[in-house]
Symmetry: C2
Subunit: 339 residues, 2 copies
């Protein structure tokens, strides 16, 4: 298996602000594997929240024993080697996992969703994300997002009810609120969630810091809408202890290390009675199309990372009007925009 | 998707006795699906322990809305429909699941293990099962099973330590003991397990009745060898409450409803820290080859159901000397012995 990769600076359509900070570009690494005349494309979208950068991705990929990977069909074995190669580095690991799944589909001549036995028509619509901003700017973004039937709104700051109110001034679409660990007091969090629920917010993601699971148990018993874990959950091993603290989990390939672990997490979540959201980072169509392959197994989708950027090098699964549209192209269904 | 099925009476090489009873033949139903010029073979091996018979399998298969299954690639959707069609009937459901997986592999021209990204070389050896019998007969069976490196021994009756002792008189091979719910007193169970462990038994399966989970918690804290759930576990939803009562689970396609649910259970078990054994009923090479596709993900295998019969209509994954040998034939790798 031959590997090569290159860094991409993804340009954001709008500056993107969440409870933790703000940015105008986002880094990504595109990985290309080749084996036995077939190619596979993957992506790492590193996040500083999980101690990854373009540099750590580059170091991780460069340190892998590629010469030992002599058969790209041995996905489980290669991914196990990659996972145990070093702790963390899950975005870098996801790049390898994605490229191997793309390779498999390309080799078998079938889209991955079909190999997985899934029906694309069952994929939930994806929400469109609106970052933290002034009420005026939020109203403008809501107008721009007119074609999207569900909005995901970043909250977790003082006066964030003004953001929800600004949206409700323009539309009665379903809203999902994401606090990104922003509320640090459980009573405050409860007040916010109840107030938001009255304004038609249908679920709230990561209201409190990742490790505050006892507070979450308290909160879960009192809230009128489901609570989803994002920063509190990375891989399947986290799920058992989360099942009393949240109603559902947000699975992101860049957090968990790829499609294979994501599938394990979906299965585990189902067995534990947890709902499943498929989410993303700011990513190109490579990562988004990879996550979308599993969308028919999810209850909620938030796969808009590629819509938030202006220089996506690929096209793949489309999400105009929030509906995920899958092609019949093999693998992840990617087309290089530059041919 | 066109379906047809026929009943087979499987003849046992030796009368087979476990803690619950004895028999000389075992029933099976072979299912054949056809769609778009490709065939898929599945099997139901009904067990009275789970209220299934050849008649219930026939009724269940006859009642399925086959005309609605217009694309055999839609495995997840068809299997969901089949699962929710009626409660129970898991062997009948497994027949459909197996046939669809065989179809998928045949259609893609690849063995299922390769489509699943697995390495056959990672499959654990399978144990060979010795039923309850007189010490003399047991010694004869041990001699016949000479080529198998690991023995699974049926216990769960008074004086069953004589069976273990009869085996130890002939060989020092690893022994796994299966009590099939036979011990109904926890102190007796603990005594037996400790005694067996001293005789080199490496694990004990289902020491007590399926629903006695509190006794199992007590037992689990005191035993020197791992305890595996068999009758106590059917599907993934059972696993959360089992994780304090057992060290591992025995997954059988005929109990859980097929390869898809088995894979979900393996993933959930891993997330919960439970070990995984792949087991079987008395089955033909159809069911055994289906379960074997997942063997590279298991810690232990007990896939000898087809070796215990004399009229297997198919050949598939082989298990001479306990080593599972996978062919490169597509799907489940089945060949009809009658051409």
């Amino acid at each position: 298996v031959k590997a090569s990769w290159e860094k991409r600076d993804l340009s954001l359509r709008h500056p993107f602000t969440i409870a933790r900070g703000s940015r105008t570009t986002s880094p990504s690494v595109i990985l290309r594997l080749e084996h036995d005349g077939t190619t596979g494309i993957g992506e790492a979208a590193p996040s500083s929240r999980y101690d990854e950068t373009v540099e750590t991705v580059d170091q991780f990929l460069a340190s892998l024993p590629w010469q030992r990977f002599h058969d790209a069909f041995l996905l489980e074995e290669i991914c196990s080697t990659v996972v145990s190669h070093a702790p963390g580095n899950n975005a870098a690991k996801a790049a390898v996992d994605l490229a191997l799944h793309d390779w498999l589909g390309n080799r078998l001549g079938q889209p991955l969703w079909r190999i997985l036995g899934l029906n694309p028509a069952k994929a939930p619509v994806t929400s469109f994300t609106i970052g933290i901003d002034t009420p005026e700017a939020v109203r403008k973004k809501v107008a721009e997002a007119e074609e999207f039937p569900v909005l995901k709104v970043k909250v977790g700051i003082p006066d964030d009810e003004m953001i929800i109110q600004a949206i409700r001034d323009c539309t009665d679409k379903p809203i999902r609120a994401d606090a990104n660990e922003g509320w640090t007091d459980k009573s405050l969090a409860l007040d916010k969630i109840c107030q938001f629920a009255e304004m038609g917010v249908e679920l709230v993601e990561q209201p409190m810091p990742a490790n505050r699971l006892d507070d979450m148990v308290w909160l879960r018993e009192r809230v009128p809408v489901p609570l989803f874990a994002d920063e509190s959950v990375r891989s399947g091993a986290d799920l058992k202890r989360l099942s009393g603290s949240f109603h559902g989990i947000n699975i992101k390939l860049m957090k968990c290390g790829g499609i294979r672990e994501a599938l394990r997490m979906i299965h585990t979540a189902r067995s534990l009675g947890l709902s499943v959201m498929l989410g993303c980072m700011i990513e190109t169509s490579v990562g988004i199309s990879g996550a979308a392959q599993l969308a028919p197994l999810a209850d909620y989708c938030d796969l808009d990372g590629n819509i938030l950027i202006t220089n996506d090098p690929y096209t793949g699964v489309l999400s105009g009007r929030g509906k995920l549209v899958f092609s019949d192209r093999p693998g992840l269904g990617l087309l290089d925009r530059n041919g």
